[in-house]
């Protein structure tokens, strides 16, 4: 599924790199707020759902070739985070929904293909 479909289905707000949505494939998902854990266990192509907002999330997403980052619960990514995401080409999406709900909906979308 491409990221644009997912963003539209969930009504996520795109804060950065909207031009990449159409051509980014989402292969799976990862949820977590501990950066070392995401580094260790996420897979390339995962959409990452987190409550973290500081700029290190971009470095992690970039290193692991993640499809993008969904920041949940109305948290707003730092200015530094968005700048860095722009440079690295990592889409940052935000929503007021809680993580459980966001993950549930993405999971459903991915399992429906």
């Amino acid at each position: 599924m491409n990221l644009e479909t997912l963003v539209e289905a969930l009504g996520l707000k795109c804060k950065c790199c909207w031009e990449k949505l159409k051509n980014t494939q989402v292969r799976g998902g990862y949820a977590g707020d501990l950066l070392s854990d995401v580094m260790a266990n996420s897979s390339a192509g995962d959409i990452w759902v987190t409550r973290q907002v500081h700029q290190n999330i971009v470095a992690v997403a970039s290193l692991k070739d993640l499809a993008g980052i969904v920041v949940v619960q109305g948290a707003s990514p730092d200015k530094d985070t968005l700048e860095r995401a722009g440079k690295e080409g990592i889409p940052i999406l935000v929503t007021d929904m809680a993580k459980f709900e966001v993950v549930g909906r993405i999971y459903r979308l991915l399992s429906e293909g």
Partner: protein, 127 residues
């Protein structure tokens, strides 16, 4: 959904709370940040977390959370288990990641204990 059904759905092990497997749970909250849990989680929910330190148990206790599901197969210390027993918090343990755990439970009908945050949420202190 009963705690025992959650166990079966996620091939989870019951570490603490064999006597509480009939507890009904309808909502869940997934987080690794305990401040996040303290801020948004509601009493009676299932806490899904990759954090397995005593602070996770104490956070659950502070909020009257029904049970903790430790995901990602995180190793558990004796101290964690001891405090969970002392405070009466059931602990399930699964090797599934948080994404899979939340996804399966959502598919089976659990809902988030908050749907979304908005401007009024910050002012609302009735829990």
């Amino acid at each position: 959904m009963k705690l025992s059904e959650i166990r079966d759905l996620l091939n989870a092990r019951v570490i603490v709370g064999e006597d509480k497997l009939d507890v009904e749970i309808t909502t869940a909250f997934g987080a690794d940040l305990m401040s996040d849990v303290l801020s948004f989680a509601r009493s009676g929910c299932l806490l899904i977390t990759g954090l397995s330190n005593p602070q996770a148990v104490r956070t659950a206790y502070a909020l009257d959370i029904a049970a903790i599901l430790v995901c990602r197969g995180k190793s558990l210390t004796d101290k964690f288990i001891e405090i969970a027993r002392e405070l009466g918090i059931p602990i399930l343990w699964t090797r599934f990641i948080m994404f899979e755990s939340c996804g399966r439970l959502f598919q089976e009908g659990l809902t988030g204990c908050i749907r979304k945050t908005d401007g009024t949420e910050e002012k609302t202190i009735v829990r």
